[in-house]
Every structure is written in C-alpha cells, then in structure tokens.
Amino acid sequence: MKPSGSAKLLKQAESLRWKVGANFQDNLMEAIYTDAAQIADRAVTSPEKQARFDWERTVDDLVTSRIWGFPLMLLMLIGVFWLTIAGANVPSGMLATLLVDNGHAWLKGLSQAIGLPWFLDGLLIDGMYLGTAWVIAVMLPPMAIFFPLFTLLEDLGYLPRVAFNLDNFYRKAGAHGKQALSTAMGFGCNAAGVISTRIIDSPRERLIAIITNNFSLCNGRWPTQILIATLFIGALVPPLYAGLVSALAVVAIALLGIFLSFAVSWGLSRTVLKGEVSTFNLELPPYRPPRILQTIYTSLIDRTLFVLWRAIVFALPAGAAIWLSSNIDIGSQSIAQHIIEGLSPMGLLLGLNGVILLAYIVAIPANEIVIPTLLMLTVLTTGGLSGYGEGAGVMFEGNVADTRAILEAGGWTLLTAINLMLFSLIHNPCSTTIYTIYKETGSAKWTAVASLLPVVMGLAVTFLVAQLWRLFTG
C-alpha cells in the first residue's frame, strides 16, 4: 500500500468521525452491551425467582455501609493484629532460645575448639550469625501468622471492600479512587504497590498514588511495629490486655499512615499536581470461600519466606559491617561509636537516638533489618557487650522481656518506642521501591520527591512529638 492510500483512509476516518459525532464511544458501548445482553440472556437460565436469603448482598451492605463499614474494618484489623501478637510471643521466645542463646553458645564453643582467630570468630559468629539469628527469631513468628491471615482476607474478597470504603476520601483528596487499591497493595510491599498504580489512567493521579504509597506499612515494617508495640506499649497495661493494647497501637499507626496518604494526596493535588478527578468503576468481586490450606501454603512461601529471605540476605552483610564498625577503633572509640555519637544530638532532638538513626541508614536496602540492626548496635556499643560470648546464654533468656532489656540498656524510653514506630511509618522508601518509582515514573525529580518528602515529614513529626512529650512530662 502506498502512503497515499493510508493517508486517504485516515482522512476518510476523520470525516466519518465528524458525522458520527461525539457520541461514538457511547454508541459503541451501547452496541456492545446490547449484544452482550442478548447473548447472555440466551445462554443463562437463572433459578426461579429466588426468595432465598442473599447472604452476599447482606454482607456487602454491612461491610460497605456508611455506618458500619469503618468500625468493621477496624475490628477486623485489630483482630488480625491481636492474633498475630498473641500468637507470636511463645514461638518467638522458643526461636530466640534456640538460635540466639543455644545456637550462639554452641558456635562459640565450636570456634574455640577449632581455634578460630578472634576476629573471624567475631565477624562470623557475633556479626553475621547473630544478626541473622535475630532476624529469624524476631520476624519469622509474627510473619508466619500475619501474612496468612492477611492473604485469607485478600482471597475472601475483603480488600476491594476496603477500597470501596476509602474511595470517597480519596476523591475528596483530589486523588483517583483506584489509589485505594494501590494503597492496599502497598500494605504488602511498596514496590508492588507502586507497580500496581498502573491501573490508574491519569498520569497526575498516578503520580499522587506513587508518592503516597510509602505511607502504607509494608511487609518489612509490620514486624518492627508489632515488636515495638509488644515491648513498650503492651507492657504498660496488665498482661491480660497487653495483646489487645499492642494490637491497637499497631492499628493506630496503620490508620495514621492511611490518614497521611489522604493528607499528602490532598496537598499534592492542590499544589504541584492540580487537576480533575477521574471517575471509574470498582467491581466488588464475589466472596469466594478461601482455600485455607493452599492460602497458608502460598502465603508462607510467597510472602513469609520471601520477606525472611530478603531480611537474611541483607542481614548477613549488615551484621558483618556492624561488627566490623564496632570493633575497628579510630582513636579511643570504634567507628560505630563515632557515627552514633555524631548522630546522637539529632537523634535526641527527635526523641530517638543515634543508634536508631544509624540503623535506618543501614536499613535503606531493606526495612526488614531495622530491628536486628538496632539490637546488634545497641549490644555492641553499650555495656551489654561485656560478658557476651563467654557467658553465653546468661544474657538472653529467650523471651521478649530480654529484648526489651537490651533496648533499655541502650537508654530507650516509651518516647523512643513511640517515635520509632512513627519514624518507621514515615521515612524514605526502601531502595527497591525507590528504584521501582524511578522505573515507573522515568523521572529523577519525582523519584526524589517520593523519597525525600516522607523523610522530611518523619523528622518533623518525631521532632514535634518529642518536644510536646518533654513539655508535658517535664
């Protein structure tokens, strides 16, 4: 075909387009719907006028109701976290006894027996092994309970209902309603959440969704929240209520995240990303009875082990680096101590400490290793270090109270715990997510905005909380 042929064709199309007019899309949709209705009608026979109880509709009316939708959502979340926290306590303790106390002592004994040089012994056992052992002890049990529960809710079809409930807020915030879906996806993994914003057509709204996705607590941050809430918030009340109160604290942080994603969306859509809100259809999928065993299996493989593996992969080198930096001295102090002392004034101003700030720098590749890094740095740079190694098994009895003891030895207070939970919610995305944002937006500028905005916000929030706290508690 010659170019003129195609030019002619396009011209004809254009002139016909004028004739059919602006209703073309409507006409086409109508034509398709007419055919679809006719064909479906001929093929499907419904049972006679069913008077029977339609439980699906009833459930939907309830979970998406204006009055009950949100309370039910909260209840569901609290239930999930309560089960996680209450259930993870015992296995966590057992794993800690096994890996941190006995395993560590056994390895130490072994290295003495074969006469390993002290630096190799330290680097491999006190650094890499201990870091990894902590990752497993602290993170595996809550994840093994939380992720299957979360996946069950997902398979049941509950998440789209959550999106439905949130849609109205997103629209009011000037964002796309589908952002509710990418936000929900972000509760699993922010990198996946950022990719899932592809379902949003308008570039403006997609950018908003990408930038705010980080406010969805991700797989790597849930364990931090759960652990710190258990250690410091749950401990404020009698043991009977500890699980419930810790769960409430985690839910509060998650809700704060959702609120922040509204607030930031609202701010962006009123300033740098102004524009119209698009409409869309959200299909509420039918409830499907989840296949429980298969769900547990796949969520253990896909999520729990995936996250755990990621944590281990990053914990190994991080453990080595931390051990090296706390054992190589410059002047009278180790490198780690120099850095921590440098960061301390700022940390204290924020109601955190130097160790936490350093841990967040170490954990840029993966949020999963914040807690193990914190524990190692605290142990290696405070008095907790002494007696460690020979007196193996003395220091850690293998329950959460000991983890708390380590942190308290590092000067932690309730304020530190609360601000850590806040900062864990509001800080830069992990490097995988940052890279994904860059790939999806293709813009260094927006990647920078998405990475730096949360850090700045996190610093501001923790600073404010610290000042108010000190003002009121003297």
């Binding site: 026979t45 049972p47 990719i195 499907r288």
Partner: protein, 291 residues
C-alpha cells in the same frame, strides 16, 4: 564472479522487492513478538490469556503451566505480563498472561498492554477467561477481543460458583452465538482443563475454524459508518482479518492504530498473517461481515 560481486549481489537481493518476502515468511511475526518481549525460541505456538480482572485468570494460568504466580481475589492483581508454557500433543505452547481488563477501548496502561499484545503479537490462540456467574458483564470484553482476532477460545471459568448459585449455562448455545469454542472450567479445582487444552490445540492447529461474532447492536447510523470505513480498510489492506475493529478504532481516533496505519506496521501484520497461517488454515479469508 569475484567475491566482491557476490557480496554486492547479496546486498542487492536483500534490498530487492523479493526480499520483502521475508516480511511474509512464517517467522516474520517473531520480530513483533520479540519486540513485545516474548522469546519464541523453543515454542511452537503463542497463547494469550485475556479476561476481566478477578475471573481466575491467574489461576487458569497456574493450572495450565504448573507455575505459582500469586493469585488473589483482587481486581488488578496482574498488571504486568506473566509467561509460562505447556505441551499438548507434542506441540509446545507459550502461555502469556495478560493484565485483566474490562475493555480494550480506553487508554490505561494495562489495557494497552493487553490490546497491543493481541493485535500486534498475533497470538495463535487467545483464551478469554470469563466469570461464568457474571456472563453478561464479561461478554463485553469477549466481544471486543473477537473483533480483533479470529482465533479464540472462551474459558467459562468458576463453574463451581455457577452450580452453587444454581444457574444454568447452555455453553453450546453460547459457543454458537460467539462463533468460538466455549469450555466450562473450574480452574481452582482443576476441572475442565484437559478440555481447555484440547480446544486450544484445535484452534492453534486450524482443526477448528472460528467464526467469531461481530458487534451488531447499536443505532444504524453508527453501524453504517463502521461498515463504510471497514470496507475502506479492507480495500487498503486486502485480507485483513479485523477490518471492522480497525475501523472502530480509527473512528474513535485511537492514536496507536492511526500510527500503525501510517507507518506500515499494520500492512506488515496483514502480510505475515496471510502468508503464515498455522497448519494451513484458511486464516484471513474468513471475513465475517455483520449481517
């Protein structure tokens, strides 16, 4: 002939008109598939998996390929393409899981991926996974896919739900109305998969020739405009399998399609389709005109 001359004559051959036969040889569309990121080495056929979100598409994908892509009751789970493979009757099939979409008309990223793959990738078979309990709504996409390709199989999934809801679906009637094979399945429980594989291989090998339904409803003025432009499209691209759909998109001012007309991409596609019908089916000659 000196070496140099041979060299030159080879070069000349490469530029002579007869060399454009290359564009028509069976391997030609490989280029397009490769551009779409599909590696066709070691595969005999490409099968695309399309469907509305949340119809169990990924479950069908996993069941056919034995892979374990994450599935979920969750519209928008698959926004990228997943690939896997399976073997039936000695032929090797590559299965490409497209993003779930409600239509192929708008311009969101996921719909574009699905549309481009079916149009430019020219899969040997497009399997459209349908939620049998919501047939009418799902047919919207089916009808749109059937405008683009002649080689499709409808996978009537979630039949377990259909039984639970006590619905009855006459799949033969449906197959007749749609003009393509319809296979009831319940992928979660691995029901109907052998039949689905059978249907895929029959369509891929050309044993079964589809006569897909073409959109007929709507006001007559609208249909007339499509018919007119469609015949124009057909004149320009003799043998094009989907003139009506191209006409539809041109009328809608779809820039991607306008571009494909302008830069000769469409022409090359038609040529490759005509010259390389799988297993010698009369592909490209069965132009169903709306009655």
């Amino acid at each position: 002939m000196s070496e140099k001359k041979i060299d030159e004559s080879l070069k000349a051959a490469a530029h002579s008109p007869s060399a454009s036969a290359c564009a028509a040889c069976p391997a030609h569309n490989l280029g397009n598939l490769r551009r779409l990121g599909v590696d066709m080495e070691n595969w005999d056929y490409v099968v695309a998996l399309a469907g509305n979100p949340n119809t169990g598409k990924s479950t069908v994908f996993n069941a056919l390929t034995g892979l374990r892509q994450h599935t979920g009751n969750w519209p928008g789970k698959t926004v990228t393409r997943a690939e896997g493979g399976f073997e039936v009757g000695g032929a090797r099939y590559k299965l490409v899981d497209l993003p779930g979409t409600y239509s192929l008309l708008s311009t969101s990223y996921d719909e574009e991926i699905a549309r481009d793959f079916i149009l430019f990738g020219q899969p040997d078979v497009t399997v459209i996974v349908v939620d049998a309990t919501r047939l009418e709504r799902n047919l919207n996409l089916v009808l749109q896919v059937l405008e683009i390709t002649n080689r499709a199989v409808v996978c009537l999934n979630l039949m377990d739900e259909v039984r639970r809801l006590k619905l009855e679906i006459d799949e033969r009637r449906l197959a007749r109305d749609l003009g393509v094979p319809v296979v009831p399945t319940s992928a979660r429980y691995k029901e109907g998969l052998p039949q689905l594989l059978q249907a895929i291989s029959e369509v891929a090998s050309g044993e079964v020739v589809c006569k897909p339904h073409r959109i007929q409803g709507g006001v007559s003025e609208f249909q007339q405009a499509i018919d007119r432009l469609a015949s124009e499209v057909e004149q320009n691209f003799p043998g094009i399998p989907n003139p009506r759909w191209i006409a539809l998109r041109l009328l809608d001012g779809d820039e991607r399609i306008v571009k494909a007309v302008e830069n000769g991409e469409l022409e090359a596609l038609v040529a490759s389709q005509q010259e390389a019908p799988p297993a010698g089916s009369s592909h490209g000659l069965r132009l169903e005109v709306a009655q």
